[in-house]
């Protein structure tokens, strides 16, 4: 029987939205207060949804301990209390939450093989969220 399992992970990070290809004026127009030169931060929530057949022996789609361990190394240690703009993955990419969602999806898709990755949803604030399903 196919079921879906979703786990939410919390991390806090700062970022600044700025495209080096734009003029300073255009960056201010496009990104508004998110273009503040000193950056700003959010408490992000990354919601990771996996799917698969429920293993009759364990009752699980995948073992949460494996998922949490992967998330610890590849999500929380990478992003929590970091300035996203300083990270290699955002060296040439504006760290909007759209791009952050895609980056997190790619990390799970390429490295976590205990279940099928359905979707990643990232809440930037309680009012903004972004989804990517590949």
């Amino acid at each position: 029987m196919k079921a879906y399992l979703t786990r939410r992970y919390h991390f806090s990070a700062s970022h600044r939205l700025n495209n080096d290809a734009f003029s300073a004026e255009k960056n201010r127009v496009v990104y508004g207060k998110c273009n503040n030169p000193h950056g700003h931060g959010h408490n992000y929530v990354a919601e990771v949804t996996l799917s698969g057949e429920v293993d009759p022996a364990t009752g699980m789609v995948c073992n949460l301990a494996d998922l949490d361990m992967f998330a610890r190394t590849n999500l929380l240690d990478a992003f929590d209390h970091m300035n996203l703009n300083t990270l290699k993955c955002f060296a040439n990419l504006v760290p909007t939450t759209e791009n952050l969602t895609i980056e997190i999806f790619r990390r799970f898709q390429s490295g976590f093989n205990h279940a099928h990755l359905e979707r990643v949803r990232v809440e930037e604030t309680g009012n903004n969220s972004f989804e990517y399903a590949g």
């Binding site: 029987m1 079921a3 399992l5 979703t6 939410r8 429920v54 009752g59 699980m60």
Partner: protein
């Protein structure tokens, strides 16, 4: 077609244990959930039904009736119970969040008049939930 979701809550205890395995294997796979004295959660159940809006009532389903069905079929059976010891389906089935979602589906499927069961979502805690959509 419109989807309608009703929430219900229950609190229950459980543990994870596969009797076909050694104690070492159970502890390795299930970690602290294998503690045979059990532990508990406040579960939140979200039941989503699908149906056409009735032209006379404006309802997909009578919410009061749905609430009573959830109470009778699930909450009265699961709430303040030890799932492994007191709920029949978990005598031989590990009461993971995934399996609870599947068993709640089986308890509700076909029992909601005028609507089709679309999804059962079970939150074990706010940061962990399982979804089941029936046999696709």
């Amino acid at each position: 077609m419109v989807l309608l979701t009703r929430k219900a809550e229950f609190s229950a205890s459980h543990y994870y244990w596969n009797p076909a395995w050694s104690e070492e294997e159970n502890v390795r796979v299930f970690g602290k959930c294998a503690n045979r004295n059990g532990h508990g959660h406040n579960y939140t159940l979200e039941v989503t039904v699908a149906g056409d809006v009735d032209a006379d009532t404006g309802f997909v389903v009578d919410l009061k009736a749905l609430k009573e069905i959830l109470e009778r079929e699930v909450v009265s059976v699961y709430d303040h119970r030890h799932l492994n010891l007191e709920v029949p389906e978990f005598e031989t089935l590990v009461p993971t969040t995934e399996n609870i979602a599947i068993e709640v589906w089986k308890r509700l499927d076909g029992k909601v008049p005028g609507a089709r069961l679309h999804r059962v979502r079970v939150y074990e805690m706010p940061d962990l939930f399982a979804d089941y959509y029936g046999e696709a």
